[in-house]
Amino acid sequence: MRFAIALVSGGLFALGLVISGMTTPAKVTGFLDVTGSWDPSLAFVMAAAIAVHAPFVRLTRGLRAPLFDTRFHWPTVKGLDPALLAGAAVFGVGWGLSGFCPGPALVSVGAGALPVVVFVGAMIAGLVATRLVVRAR
C-alpha cells in the first residue's frame, strides 16, 4: 500500500509535468526568455501547484504524523547561506541552458532518447559528486 501510494504520487507528478507542457524544453526556455517571445506557462503551472499544495501544508500542521510514517520530514536547515544561493545560481544556468530541471528530465528519460539520457547521466554525476564533497566537509 505504501509502495502503491508513492508510485501514484510520482506518476501524478509526472502526468502534471506532461499535461502542463513542462516536458517540452522550449516552453521552459521560453518562460526564461523575458526579453524575447515570453511564454508565461511555467508561472501558471507553479501558481496552480502552490494553490493546491499550500492548503495541504497547512492541514499537516494539525496532524501528529503522516499516514505511513511516524513523523513529517521537514527540512532542518534554516536561514540563508552562501551554498544555497550559489547552488541555486548554478542550477539556474544549467536550467536556462537546457530547459530541463530534474523532474521533467527524469520523466523524459523514460522515453530513452539519447540527448536526455546524456543530460540525466551528467546530472546524476554532478548530484552524487557534490553530495559526496558536501558530506566530506
Partner: protein, 137 residues
Amino acid sequence: MDSSSVLRALAGGALIGLAASIALVAHGRIAGISGTLGRALAGDGGLGFRIPFLLGLVAVGALTALAWPSALGAAVRSTPVLAIAGVLVGVGTALGNGCTSGHGVCGVSRGSPRSLAAVMTFMVTGGITVAIVGAQA
C-alpha cells in the same frame, strides 16, 4: 500563449500540487525531485517512499513516449551542451538543496525564506543565461 495552453498549465500544475500533497500527507515527504533522487542514489530509500516515487515518474514518461510522444519535446541544445547543463543542474541542486519542485512548489507553499531566495536566484540566472544564449540553439 493561447487559452488551451493556459488551461493545460493550470491543470498540470494542480496535478503536481496534488502529487506533492499525497507525498506529504501519506509519507511525510517533500516531493523535491533532486533531493529524492540524490538521497535514493545515496542508498536512503526514505522508508519505501523514494524508489516507488521515482519509478512512477519515469514510468509515466515511458507511457507518454508511447501514447503521446509529442508531449516530450525535442532538446533545445546539442548533446555536448546538454551534458554540461546536466552537470550544472546536478551540482547546483545538490549544493542548493533543491530544484523547481522542492524549492519552487513545496518550499514556496510552506513560505520558506530559503526556498523563496533560491527560486528568485535560479530564475534570475536562468533568465540571464537564456538572454545570452537564446531560447533555442
